[in-house]
């Protein structure tokens, strides 16, 4: 009765997810400014190559090229009428590559944020967000995705809307947020708050976690926050291959394959079940991660000090959990309203 991802998680201690989509597609000639989702139809060969790049490097799971495939994002390119077509194609190509892999590979239907700010601060209502995610989820399901993969979310409201869409299409799903602002998401959500949030949903995700954000070390600090919550749900870590730096007129990602291999093993030693990369993570990084995960012995649960020593320091002193939990401002007047 269980879904393919749950079955694979039951068989294995860890699964290797994929790396970057954007970074890889730019290397294949995607013009910046162009929505990558159009390539699902215009250049299916390149999208197959993207997926194969991850599978051949050892990924057990890869995300479809549909991150910006919701009506709100596609509207920026006047392609909002093509949500069903582009997402279905993204998943169909994924199915084709996964089924030819000769081993179980999970096709995860990527769903990124709408880019809109949700009510009451912004204009996007819960109903409208659910409708957009529902449309996208339906198409990913029709194209053969095994699981929906909601990622880079920063608002609790948007996370809930995406969960509701998964419920509407009756699909298992995973969800990750991007913790990029002093250890919290842009909207102020802490790792502990996400852990609590997933347990309150009527259809909790198969696995949850963090993606993107700042560097690999920050991402693992976020993982320690999930672990402290004590819930037993499998955790996902998809960190960036280091931090882009502008040095002597050139952009330089400081995350080498060796660093990402260290990151992968530290993630595993923390107890992360699904380990992958995000921006800057190429097939060579994935290969190094796979090899390290298969060959290096379990090192015991690493401390924050060890993580910082191996992967670089954290971007902020605290992350809004534990003793760093925010002290509220001293008010002059009485709170009203």
């Amino acid at each position: 009765m269980s879904d393919p991802l749950t079955r694979l998680l039951a068989e294995r201690d860890w699964l290797l997810a994929d790396g970057a989509t954007g970074t890889n597609l730019f290397n294949m000639g995607l013009e910046s400014g162009e929505p990558p989702e159009l390539w699902n139809v215009d250049h299916p060969d390149r999208i197959r190559a993207l997926y194969r790049g991850a599978v051949e490097a050892g990924s057990d799971l890869f995300l479809t090229n549909s991150f910006g495939g919701n009506a709100s994002r596609l509207k920026l390119h006047r392609a909002e009428a093509r949500v069903a077509e582009l997402n279905r194609a993204a998943a169909e190509l994924g199915r084709e590559v996964a089924d030819a892999a000769g081993r179980p590979v999970i096709v995860a239907g990527s769903i990124g944020p709408t880019g809109d700010i949700m009510a009451p601060m912004g204009s996007l209502t819960h109903e409208a967000a659910v409708e957009m995610f529902h449309e996208q989820a339906e198409a990913l399901k029709a194209g053969g995705a095994d699981v929906l993969w909601v990622e880079t979310i920063s608002a609790a409201e948007e996370f809930r809307a995406a969960a509701e869409a998964a419920l509407l299409v009756d699909m298992p799903w995973c969800g990750t947020m991007s913790f990029d602002t002093a250890g919290r998401t842009m909207m102020g959500i802490t790792s502990a708050q996400l852990s609590a949030l997933v347990e309150k949903l009527p259809n909790p995700p198969v696995a949850y976690g963090a993606n993107c954000g700042v560097g690999a070390s920050d991402l693992l600090r976020t993982v320690t926050g999930f672990l402290a919550s004590g819930n037993e749900r499998p955790i996902i870590a998809k960190g960036n291959a280091g931090i882009p730096r502008f040095e002597a007129g050139h952009i330089h990602y400081d995350g080498t394959p060796e660093l990402m291999a260290d990151y992968a093993c530290l993630a595993r030693d923390l107890g992360v079940r699904i380990i992958g990369g995000c921006c800057g993570t190429m097939p060579e990084h994935l290969r190094a991660m796979r090899e390290a995960l298969e060959t290096r012995p379990h090192g015991g649960r690493p401390t924050l000090e060890l993580i910082a020593e191996r992967l670089g320091g954290f971007s902020s002193t605290g992350d809004g959990t534990g003793e760093d939990a925010t002290a509220s401002r001293e008010r002059r007047g009485r709170r009203r309203g």
């Binding site: 400014g33 601060m121 842009m186 502008f246 008010r331 709170r335 009203r336 309203g337």
Partner: protein
């Protein structure tokens, strides 16, 4: 709703207490209360410019500092900015009538090739919240579009945003074109986006790199203040 015992009647407060209360209300994003407070101060004969600077801008400065310091996050800041906008809507026609100094006008957009606009949207909302006029050009802007807009709008500030390492160099293209046309120094150029840093901002000839939306507002206020001072000094 607050308990009846605790109900604060804004119109019964002294000017000083009312301004303090408005700062708290801004902090809590209470738009109706801010509108009421603005009307009361105007009714008491305050100049629109004083209401703007001493109550609203001062209140938003506290919000901005707490955002910078990681005490407030985007949702609270947006609610505060929304409350501020409620007050601004009342003050704007009056400020124009009284010829009060403008806060400043900003043209903003993500650079050519970049479709990532959340950061840019936040800066827009916070700049408006701080009393600036903002012309949002949206995503994927070519140099011509920026230059046409800053001229047409007689903007004080040009804001450029990029999330990608592949698109951030385009900011230099825009600034270099401004230099070629001899208009670079007519504008304050602020740049921002996740992969940027101060060094990059300096290297491409921007006036400043802004780490986040709160810093963008503070930086814009500083530069506008300097501009006003220079104008005053040269008169």
């Amino acid at each position: 709703m607050a308990e009846d015992d605790d109900e604060i009647i804004l119109s019964e407060l002294s000017d000083e207490d009312l301004v303090q209360q408005m700062m708290d209300d801004l902090y809590d994003g209470l738009r109706d209360e801010i509108e009421e407070g603005v009307n009361i101060l105007l009714g008491r004969g305050w100049a629109p410019y004083d209401v703007l600077t001493r109550a609203l801008v001062a209140g938003m400065t506290i919000v901005g500092h707490d955002f910078r310091d990681g005490i407030l996050f985007v949702p609270e800041v947006l609610l505060a900015a929304n409350a501020m906008k409620g007050g601004m809507a009342i003050l704007k026609p009056l400020l124009a009538e009284t010829g009060a100094p403008r806060m400043g006008k900003m043209v903003i957009g993500t650079v050519k090739g970049d479709i990532h606009d959340i950061g840019k949207n936040l800066v827009s909302m916070m700049m408006e919240g701080a009393g600036f006029e903002v012309i949002d050009l949206g995503i994927n802007n070519a140099v011509e579009k920026y230059l046409e807009a800053i001229a047409r709008e007689e903007a004080d500030i040009l804001g450029m945003s990029a999330l990608l390492t592949t698109t951030m160099p385009y900011m230099k293209v825009v600034i270099d074109t401004m230099k070629e046309q001899g208009i670079r120094d007519d504008y304050i150029v602020l740049v921002g986006g996740a992969p940027l840093n101060e060094e990059f901002g300096r290297a491409i000839g921007a006036d400043a790199y802004c780490r986040d939306a709160a810093v963008a507002v503070e930086t814009a206020k500083d530069f506008i203040q300097r501009k006003h001072n220079q104008l005053a000094a040269s008169q």
